[in-house]
Amino acid sequence: MQGGNGSGTLRKLATLLVVPVALIVLWEGYKWLWQTTGWGWPFVVNDTTMPHVYSILQAFSQPTTTGGPPLIQSLLHAAWFTMKEAIAGFLLGGVIGFGLAVLLAHVRLLERGLLPFVVGSQTVPILAIAPMVVIGLGSKGVQGWKSVAILAAWLTFFPVAINTLRGLKSPDRRAVELMQSYAASQWSILWRLRVPASLPYIFTALKISATASVIGAIIGETPASIQDGLGGAIVNFNQYYSLQPTFLWATNIICAAMGLVFFGLVVIAEHLVVRRAPENVV
C-alpha cells in the first residue's frame, strides 16, 4: 500500500466507491428492465417491491409520523440500542471463544470430545435457539437485552474458538521445544509464544464475529419483546411495507452500515495490536 501520496488515496477512494455504484446500477437496471418488459418472474417489479435508490435515500429525511423526527434519527437511536447488545455479546463471545480455544489446545481429550459439539452448536439455526434462550433466561429473571447479548455471543464464540485454536497450534514445533528447553512453563509458552502467534488468526475471527454478533442482536430482539432496536424496526416496517416500502429498505441500509462500522472498529484494533506485537509473531 502506498498511502500518503494524493493520487493513491484518490485511487483507494475510487475503488471503495466501485462496489456501491455497481450495486446501484444493477438495482436500477434490473428494475428498469423488468418494468419496461413487464416480466413477472420471480416477482412483479414496481415502486413497492423495488423502490428507486433515491427514494430509499430520501426516506431517511422523512418522519415516520406527522410532526415526528426524521427516520434517520429514529433509526440511529435503534442502531445504538442494538449496537450495545452486539458489543456486549461480542465481548462475551470473544472471551468464551478464547478461553475455550486455550482449553482445547492444551487438553487433547477435550479437543476430540468437545469440538464436534462446538461445531454442532453452530448448525442449529439461531432462529430456533433465540426463543429458547430468551424464555429460558427470562425465567431466571435475566433482562431481555442480556438474553439478546447472549445470542450475539453464541454467534461470536465459534469463529473465535476455532481460529484461536488453530492459531495457538500454529507456532513452529522447534520454537515450542526451544521454550521447553529453557524450562518455560506452559503458562509462559502460552502468553509469550502461542498467543502472539495466534493474533492474526484471532483478528480474522473477530472480523467475522463482528458482523455475526450484529445479526445475533437483531434476530434476538423479536423473541425478547424488544422494540427499541433495529430488530423491532424491521418488524414494524415489514408490517407497514405496502405503505412505506422505502422505510424497510432504509432500515436494511442502517443494519448493513452498522455491521460495517463494527467490522471497521475491529480492523482498527487489529492495526493497533498486531503492529505492536513482538517480532516472534512469525
Binding site: 406527522t66 492444551h106 424464555i135 423479536t222 407497514y240 405496502s242
Partner: protein, 390 residues
C-alpha cells in the same frame, strides 16, 4: 538426529503425564469460572422487593392502538393506583402469548379466544378472565373490479388468510357457502404474510384484513393507476361479524394460568388488574386522540394517522358493551366454541375455559365509583385516512 528424537520422545512421555494432570486442573478451573460468570449474570438480574405487586402483561402483537387501553392504564397511573407495577411485554412474529403465560414469563396474556381454547385442549391450563373485544374485527377483502361480491363467489379463487389459528372465521364462512377450504378444487388458500402486499399486487383475489389495521393499510395506499388513495368504493368488505357472513369469533381476551388464579392473593391481583385495564379502555373511549398519543409514545415508529384509525375501530369492537366491558354476550362465547369445533381448531367444546367472576367484580367496583362501563352513547368517529398512515 535419531538419538535426539528418541530422547525427546522419552522426555515428552514423562512430562506428558504430569502435564495432563495440570491440564485437567486448568480445565476444571475454566469450567468453574464460566459457571460462576453465568451465575453472577443471572443473580444480578434478580428482582428487588417493592411495595407494588409486580405483574407482566404479554401482548399479542407489537405496540399499536389495539392495546391502547393497557398503555393508557399504565401512563395514566391506574395500575399504580391499584397497587400494581405492570410491565407490558410486546408480542411479535415469533411470540405466542399462550406459551409465554403457560411458561410463567407473564401473568396476563392477550390473544384470540379460539387460540386459547386450542392451547387449553393441548394441556395448558389457561383460563380466560375477561373478553375486552365484544365482537370480531376480522374481514375478508376483494377488489370491486374483480366482481367477487359474495363469499360464494370466492369459489375457485386465490383466497388469502393468516396462518396459525387465524383461519377459522374465514373457513367457517367459506363452508357456510358450500366451499371446502381443504379442497384445492374448491378454493386455493394462500398463506398471507403480515402485510397487504399480495392483495395490493393482485396476487391474491381475496385477503384477510382486520378492520383496525390491514383495511386501513389498503386505504392509505395510492392506487398506481389514478395516483389517488384507494377508497372503500374500490373494495368489497366482508365483515365476519356482520349478519350476512355470520361467522365472527371473539378475539382479544385476557387470560391467566389456571393454577395461578387459584391463589387468593392472585385473585385479588386479577381484579385490580382488570379494573385498572378497564379504566384505561374507558379513558381511550372518551379521549381517543390523547390515547393515540400515548400509543405513539410507546411505539415511536408508528404513524399517527394509522393509529387514529385503529383506535376508532378498536373502540368499535369494545363499545357499546351491552353487559359492561370485559363481559361478552354468552351467545358469542358459544358461537366461538362451536365454530372452533366445527373447523377442527378444537375437538371438544371446552369446559372451564372462561371464568368472568373477577371481571364482574372489577366492573362492580367501577360502577360503584360512577364510571360508565357500557358506553351506550359512544359513536364511532369518522376518521379520515392519511396517505401512508402518517
Amino acid at each position: 538426529m535419531a538419538s535426539d528424537a528418541a530422547s525427546s520422545v522419552v522426555r515428552k512421555t514423562e512430562r506428558g503425564m504430569r502435564m495432563r494432570m495440570k491440564h485437567w486442573a486448568a480445565a476444571a478451573l475454566a469450567v468453574a469460572c464460566s459457571g460462576l460468570a453465568v451465575w453472577a449474570a443471572v443473580a444480578s438480574a434478580a428482582p428487588k422487593q417493592q411495595a407494588l405487586t409486580k405483574v407482566t402483561l404479554q401482548l399479542k402483537w407489537v405496540t399499536q392502538a389495539q392495546f391502547a387501553g393497557y398503555y393508557a392504564a399504565l401512563t395514566k397511573g391506574y395500575y399504580k393506583q391499584a397497587g400494581l407495577d405492570v410491565k407490558i411485554k410486546v408480542g411479535g412474529p415469533s411470540i405466542t402469548p399462550e406459551t409465554v403465560v403457560a411458561g410463567k414469563q407473564a401473568d396476563f396474556g392477550l390473544d384470540w379466544l379460539p387460540n386459547l381454547f386450542a392451547t387449553r385442549e393441548k394441556g395448558s391450563n389457561l383460563v380466560s378472565i375477561a373478553q375486552v373485544f365484544a365482537r370480531s374485527g376480522m374481514t375478508e377483502l376483494t377488489w370491486k373490479s374483480s366482481g367477487i361480491d359474495s363469499i360464494a363467489k370466492m369459489r375457485g379463487k386465490k383466497v388469502g388468510v393468516w396462518c396459525c389459528g387465524n383461519q377459522p372465521e374465514l373457513f367457517a364462512a367459506l363452508q357456510k357457502n358450500g366451499i371446502d377450504p381443504n379442497k384445492t378444487s374448491d378454493v386455493t388458500i394462500v398463506n398471507q404474510p403480515f402485510s397487504m402486499d399480495l392483495f395490493l399486487q393482485h396476487q391474491v383475489d381475496a385477503a384477510a384484513a382486520m378492520t383496525y389495521n390491514e383495511l386501513a393499510q389498503v386505504l392509505e395506499t395510492k392506487n398506481p393507476n389514478t395516483g389517488k388513495l384507494y377508497t372503500l368504493k374500490d373494495l368489497n368488505v366482508f365483515k365476519m361479524a356482520s349478519p350476512a357472513v355470520g361467522t365472527g369469533m371473539l378475539e382479544d381476551n385476557v387470560f391467566v394460568r389456571g393454577d395461578w388464579i387459584k391463589d387468593k392473593a392472585n385473585q385479588a391481583t386479577a381484579v385490580k388488574f382488570l379494573k385498572a385495564s378497564f379504566q384505561g379502555w374507558i379513558y381511550c373511549r372518551d379521549h381517543q386522540a390523547a390515547c393515540v398519543s400515548i400509543v405513539l409514545k410507546n411505539g415511536s415508529l408508528l404513524g399517527r394517522g394509522h393509529q387514529t384509525w385503529q383506535m376508532n375501530e378498536i373502540n368499535a369492537l369494545t363499545w357499546p358493551s351491552p353487559k359492561g366491558i370485559g363481559l361478552p354476550p354468552a351467545s358469542a362465547v358459544v358461537q366461538t366454541a362451536t365454530i372452533a369445533k366445527k373447523y377442527g381448531v378444537i375437538n371438544n367444546v371446552p369446559s372451564g375455559a372462561t371464568n368472568y367472576t373477577y371481571a364482574a367484580k372489577a366492573l362492580a367496583q367501577l360502577k360503584a365509583a360512577g364510571a360508565d362501563v357500557y358506553g351506550k352513547k359512544w359513536k364511532k368517529a369518522n376518521v379520515k385516512v392519511t396517505p401512508g398512515g402518517k
